[in-house]
């Protein structure tokens, strides 16, 4: 393997590559040969005596004679072999675009440096061994193991437990199960009404039917999309601000992408389409031609454009004054690199960053592959011709609408012009008055001199005049803000000014505007991508063409179709999205089903959901993972009557949460589990479910829900944050601030204190797996923060109102979704009595309510509230 081979030849090529305008061997042809022909006609061997590493060698030909005659396709055997796919011999053929390059190159006389040969280091050859790694092979549906367990998931899990003499545990109690599945699917606790309905169904039908009814209800609930949308937004690295700089500019339209994601989950948008829209929505719906030809943008086009907000999540360092900075594009590359990182880690579970600077040390990802992938997004993000994020926006309009708007605006501007002139004259009149009034107050003898000093050209003033101007400036011709204040104070001016200003405003308001779409789209012109040595912008190497990871390229073709010269979009992203969402792709389906599993079991079948590479954790149940992946992307008709729709996320979740593996108890039972614990201490084989802690958002949302203050309003601009004097960042204390956490503004520099404490990630790029931390500030915040105190008060008021007879048990039912034990009832009674006495000393009238608030507060702070069994 040549993964660590020398890179010294890269330098040799880069200069020519940068400036070559035309097709040349080293720039255009060599990369193709290198990727697809070197295995047999390169350094290691020269089949048929042919070496295609440099032009001179190709011209020399092979054992059977010449293979290339410049300018003559019909005399070039090389072309014939490639054209007919006779070569390369393996599965990987040249794409149409690549063939086109070879053909044109030969036609124009096969230009190029005779001696140029391929750089080796950054471009290792992918071997068959590399491709054999499990995660790089298309999953093949394994046969469901023969089992007495009817659910296919259970058959697989059972088959892994069986040889160890282990079994699944018993099913969890109905209410434990209800709380688990409700939090899992909606991120909220079950309400008392839902508890009652479920228990009633359990009594009248089978518990299984009652449970399945609950699952269907939860999957259909709009709360489902809020929960699972939030998971996806972590992967996308969603934020409402550009981040990076102290100013942390707010992204005005990012929320529309957030809403798109929530809707996509709620509407059960097929996952392949979901990815295609996010990566290439604009190309998928042929936005530019719709823009040109349609009267207005159809809803599905708007939706697809909003979806590309996924590629606009990466933070941005651009600021206008960066033009002064040396190598400014180096900083812009950060946005492009982050985007690549987000795409690769969220969809393919791969870490590409290593390959940015050098060939990946563990995974077969050559340095060039990184830049081939980068080239896919280069047509939109171009560090060399950077457009700051704040200036990249599409409006929700067509060319026709824009033309019409322009005309209407021009008309309004025409009526505005005299008004604006009038305003300027008015201001001028009054400024002159201030000047003259001021002058009049000066002693007669200096007056003329001052007037002359101000009248003089500022560059030609004498020293004396300068002094006079300096002295009187503030009072006679003050700076902008001061003069504005003075004018403001002048009643006569004010009346006239307001009248004109109102007219201007009302006209301005009539100007047509269109909603903004924070879309990703290609910039005009052809984008070039170079390999960057050591990842440094200042050290460009060989030019690369768009491509995908070659270790994955065998399974299905990545092909950018040729586009007309004036096409506004390169088609690269659509080609990539199609490649990515092919059912033959080894990773896409596996990574997604593993994420679902991760959220339903606390740990994925692959425990490192962001790393399916060689340094990741091998799957605990490889066959189950592949079965789920196949069931996801190429489902069979075996379970349902009709062949189910592929890439259906809800269907997969229904499958998972109805398995006995999911429904089993999570609590360790020494009498039953001792053996299992000894054999498989980490429960990798799933002999029980896993107890899990609520994430920050679920925790906050549950507090809102239980206290009866949750505002269920969906969608729309984010709820702005309030920053207190002592640095705490909170949601406003009103109905808007009581909305679910997914709707709160995500400002990178000002994370909501509560959520951040409970491990909401700081959005640098994206978050592929949340951490779980236990830090003293969490306890202090639960016990003492205004937020928790107010919610505990509201919670107490609610239970006292809803169940005056047994408020404490009602509170426990709300918080824990179960009835209190007798011991708890006694404990509460005793606590309330004591606490009431204590409060009575200071707040007699409020004592009962305060005691109840204390009880409610402790329920919200308890472990049982924070954990799901």
């Amino acid at each position: 393997m040549m993964r660590f081979a020398s890179t010294s030849l890269v330098a040799f090529l880069c200069v020519g590559a940068l400036h070559a305008q035309e097709l040349s061997f080293e720039k255009s042809v060599l990369p193709i040969f290198q990727a697809k022909c070197f295995n047999c006609h390169g350094e290691k061997r020269q089949r048929g005596g042919l070496d295609v590493r440099n032009k001179a060698a190709i011209l020399k030909g092979g054992e059977s004679g010449a293979v290339l005659k410049p300018s003559s396709l019909k005399d070039s055997i090389l072309w014939e072999k490639i054209r007919t796919d006779e070569m390369p011999e393996g599965q990987v053929k040249l794409t149409a675009a690549e063939k086109d390059v070879i053909r044109r190159w030969i036609e124009v006389g096969a230009p190029g440096d005779d001696k140029a040969i391929a750089p080796r280091g950054p471009d290792l050859t992918i071997t068959d061994d590399d491709r054999k790694f499990w995660a790089f092979q298309t999953p093949v549906r394994p046969k469901t193991p023969a089992s007495k367990l009817s659910h296919p998931i259970d058959a697989f899990v059972g088959a892994a437990l069986d040889p160890k003499g282990l079994t699944l545990s018993i099913e969890a109690a109905p209410l434990v199960l209800l709380r688990r599945v409700t939090f899992d699917l909606t991120g909220l606790p079950p309400t008392p009404a839902e508890i009652d309905a479920f228990l009633k169904d359990c009594a009248s039908a089978t518990p299984q039917a009652a449970y399945e009814k609950v699952v269907d209800r939860l999957l259909a609930s709009p709360r489902y999309g809020e929960r699972w949308g939030r998971h996806w937004l972590d992967l996308a690295g969603y934020a409402d601000s550009e981040g990076i700089l102290d100013a942390d500019y707010v992204r005005s339209a990012a929320w529309r992408y957030r809403d798109y994601v929530i809707r996509a989950f709620n509407d059960d948008k097929p996952y392949d389409k979901f990815l295609q829209e996010q990566i290439a929505g604009d190309e998928l719906v042929d936005y530019w031609s719709v823009h040109q030809n349609a009267k207005e943008l159809p809803a599905h086009v708007v939706d697809a454009l909003i979806a590309t907000g996924y590629l606009r999540c990466a933070s941005d360092t651009s600021r206008p004054d960066f033009v002064n900075i040396k190598n400014a594009p180096g900083y812009y590359f950060q946005t492009l690199d982050d985007t690549l990182k987000i795409v690769a880690s969220s969809t393919m579970g791969l870490t590409l960053q290593c390959a940015k600077c050098h060939t990946h040390k563990y995974d077969p990802i050559p340095h060039t592959d990184y830049y081939r992938m980068q080239a896919i997004f280069m047509s939109g993000y171009r560090p060399g011709q950077w457009v700051p994020q704040v200036q990249r926006k599409l409006s929700e309009s067509t060319a026709a609408q824009e033309k019409d708007a322009k005309e209407r605006t021009a008309k309004i501007d025409a009526s505005l012009a005299p008004l604006k002139k009038q305003l300027a004259e008015l201001t001028n009149e009054f400024t002159t008055k201030i000047y003259e009034d001021g002058l009049a107050k000066l002693p007669q003898e200096t007056r003329d001199a001052v007037r002359a000093a101000f009248a003089a050209d500022s560059k030609k003033r004498t020293a004396e005049q300068k002094q006079l101007v300096d002295k009187h400036q503030a009072e006679l011709k003050p700076a902008g803000p001061i003069i504005a204040k003075k004018l403001e104070a002048d009643a006569a001016y004010k009346v006239k000014q307001q009248k004109i200003a109102e007219e201007i405003k009302s006209l301005e308001n009539k100007k047509p505007t269109f909603p903004e779409i924070r879309a990703f789209y290609d910039l005009p012109g052809e984008a070039k991508t170079h390999l960057l040595k050591r990842g440094e912008y200042t050290q460009p190497g060989l030019e690369v063409t768009p491509g995908v990871l070659r270790v994955l390229a065998n399974h299905n073709a990545f092909d950018v179709p040729a586009r007309p010269k004036d096409a506004k979009s390169s088609g690269r992203r659509l080609a990539f999205a199609k490649w990515l969402t092919s059912p033959e792709h080894p990773l896409t389906a596996r990574v997604m089903v593993n994420r679902l599993w991760h959220h339903h079991f606390g740990v994925g079948l692959v425990a490192t959901p962001d790393n399916f590479g060689k340094t990741g954790t091998p799957p605990s149940h490889p066959e189950l993972l592949d079965w789920l992946a196949c069931e996801f992307c190429k489902p069979t008709a075996s379970r349902e009557r009709q062949r189910p729709e592929p890439w259906n996320v809800k269907r997969m979740q229904r499958l998972i949460v109805t398995s006995a593996a999911y429904k089993q108890i999570s609590t360790f039972q020494p009498a039953v589990h001792a053996n299992a614990k000894r054999i498989d201490p980490d429960n990798r084989l799933l002999w029980r479910q896993r107890m899990r802690r609520l994430e920050g958002e679920a925790m906050r949302d549950a507090v809102l829900a239980v206290s009866g203050t949750l505002n269920p309003q969906m969608y729309g601009p984010p709820v702005p944050m309030v920053r207190s004097g002592d640095g705490e960042v909170n949601a406003p204390n009103d109905a808007n601030g009581n909305r679910r956490s997914v709707y709160l503004q995500v400002r990178r520099s000002q994370p909501l204190t509560f959520l951040q404490l409970f491990d909401q990630p700081v959005i640098e790029t994206n978050c592929t797996r949340r951490e779980i931390s236990t830090v003293a500030s969490q306890a202090l915040t639960l016990l003492n923060s205004d937020f928790m105190t107010k919610k505990a008060d509201a919670f107490a008021e609610r239970v006292l109102k809803e169940n005056a007879k047994e408020p404490a048990s009602h509170a426990l039912r709300l918080a824990f979704a179960r009835a209190p034990t007798d011991a708890e009832s006694r404990l509460f009674a005793r606590f309330l009595e004591q606490q009431e006495q204590r409060h009575a000393k200071t707040q007699a009238a409020e004592a009962r309510r305060r005691a109840m608030a204390d009880l409610c507060h402790m329920l919200l702070s308890s472990n049982e509230f924070a954990y799901v069994d």
Partner: protein, 466 residues
């Protein structure tokens, strides 16, 4: 189970707190199991080798203090004042004008003869304890990027700060206080706010906790409205009982113990944080030493004194910040620099004196410096612009050999020329004093080992660490 039983659990809690490590004493979910969701704690960790320093106090000078006016004397600037800089050092971004001499004279101090400008009157008394690095350079001329570089090792946002790395690598010796404490200016946060002490993609357990020098020392340490006597204790007993019952039917869930212990730690912190920051326990002489008797030095002096009290109590990393970016002297270099020195010079000298007297200086590494230096060329009449190519910082205590300077800039103070010192070199050296090897202090993320110094291959400043 009745309410009477509560007292029994109190006993358990008392036992834990007398151990001083309720948190530490309990084993958490297996740390070695890479597959399980990672859990984190602040129990003391073994360093990689015997440390020289137990703690760090970082005196962060926001805005970019002028090396040319404080720590790096340049006679050539005096000689060529007002003239165009020579081509070899000229600012190729052409942001500033002609050379500007310093308004401050430099003098040699101590046995070593280490030079300081007269802008400092007190710190130079410690010349023989201080090592000035005159050959620092960084990678960006913009505040934010340079701050991220200085705090987190790279010019990108969102990485853990060096204090977070120290907390992650070493934990803390006092479970009643956080490992990493930040003392911001009560007048306001520094530029870039809380990101200066962020734990980035590490869990918030490792981020700097703000202790305030006025009012309630820690956010939510107490409720806004105090609760009547006995109310709190009763609430905590109820919580304990709820958690105990929950825990007892869930054997094998050690994570629950950690969360229970966490409430206990919070309770202890309510006492210890107040105590740690209570400077009224100090003598009037100590107050004077830190300049608490003078309105100009009082605010910074208070934070310096608090820093000593925190380090004394086992806090691992303490950072002091000023509001905004006071050292950013674009238009008023002489007056601005002097004003910053007036506020900080005496308190910093007092801190060094106090630590030395108490025998704490040997085990406490002091860092003084900002995110970059300032240009030798003038901006406006008396201003200097940001300057990343050469600047100075200083270290003292924690095993640092004082009375020397390391490296040099060119004759005009433009470029670090001799023994060029990258931020990674500085970070690696600071970690080294804490007993940490920069290359082994790694955090797994996205299948990659992340380090404070990322992929840099820093050199330790050998002469400084003896």
């Amino acid at each position: 189970m009745g309410y009477e039983m509560l007292n029994k659990h109190l006993t358990r809690r008392e036992v834990l707190s007398t151990l001083g490590g309720g948190f530490g004493g309990l084993a958490l979910a297996s740390m070695l199991d890479a597959d399980a969701p990672r859990t984190h704690d602040l129990r003391p960790k073994q360093p990689h080798f015997a440390p020289k320093a137990r703690a760090v106090i970082q005196l962060f000078m926001h805005g970019g203090p002028s090396h040319l006016d404080l720590l790096d004397p340049k006679p050539m600037l005096d000689r060529y004042d007002g003239q165009a800089p020579p081509a070899e050092v000229a600012d190729d971004e052409r942001l500033t004008g002609n050379l500007l001499k310093s308004a401050f004279r430099f003098r040699k101090h101590g046995q070593s003869g280490l030079e300081f400008s007269e802008a400092f009157t007190h710190i130079p008394r410690h010349a023989d304890k201080i090592a000035v690095i005159r050959s620092m350079f960084t990678e960006h001329r913009n505040h934010e990027q340079a701050l991220w570089m200085m705090h987190t090792g790279m010019v990108v946002a969102g990485r853990p700060s060096i204090g977070a790395w120290a907390a992650y690598g070493l934990g803390t010796e006092n479970q009643n206080l956080p490992a990493y404490v930040v003392l911001p200016d009560p007048r306001g946060l520094p530029v870039d706010g809380i990101r200066n002490w962020s734990s980035g993609w590490m869990p918030p357990l490792y981020q700097g906790m703000q202790f305030r020098s006025e009012g309630m020392p820690v956010l939510n340490l107490q409720p806004r409205t105090p609760r009547p006597q006995g109310v709190d204790a009763n609430r905590m007993r109820l919580l304990e009982e709820l958690n105990h019952q929950h825990r007892s039917s869930r054997p094998d869930e050690l994570e629950l113990d950690a969360r229970i212990a966490n409430f206990e730690m919070a309770a202890r912190m309510q006492l210890s944080a107040g105590d740690a920051l209570d400077i009224n326990q100090e003598t009037p002489a100590t107050h004077r030493l830190y300049g608490l008797d003078n309105p100009t030095t009082r605010a910074y002096g208070t934070r310096c004194l608090m820093a000593r009290r925190l380090v004394e109590r086992g806090v691992r990393f303490v950072q002091l910040f000023m509001s905004g970016q006071p050292w950013d002297t674009h238009g008023n270099n002489t007056a601005g620099t002097k004003s910053c020195c007036d506020q900080t010079d005496l308190p910093v000298a007092g801190l060094l004196t106090d630590l030395a007297q108490r025998g704490l200086l040997d085990s406490t590494l002091i860092f003084w410096g900002g995110e970059f230096g300032r240009t030798p060329g003038a901006q406006n009449r008396d201003g200097r612009d940001h300057h990343p190519y050469g600047f100075s910082v200083w270290l003292a205590g924690g095993g640092i050999v004082g009375g020397q300077h390391h490296g040099a800039t060119d004759d005009f103070g433009y470029h670090a020329r001799v023994e060029r010192t990258s931020v990674a070199d500085l970070h690696a050296t600071m970690l080294h004093q804490l007993g940490l090897d920069y290359s082994r202090l790694a955090y797994q993320r996205h299948g990659r080992d992340e380090r404070l110094t990322d992929v840099a291959q820093p050199r330790l400043l050998r002469r400084l660490i003896g």
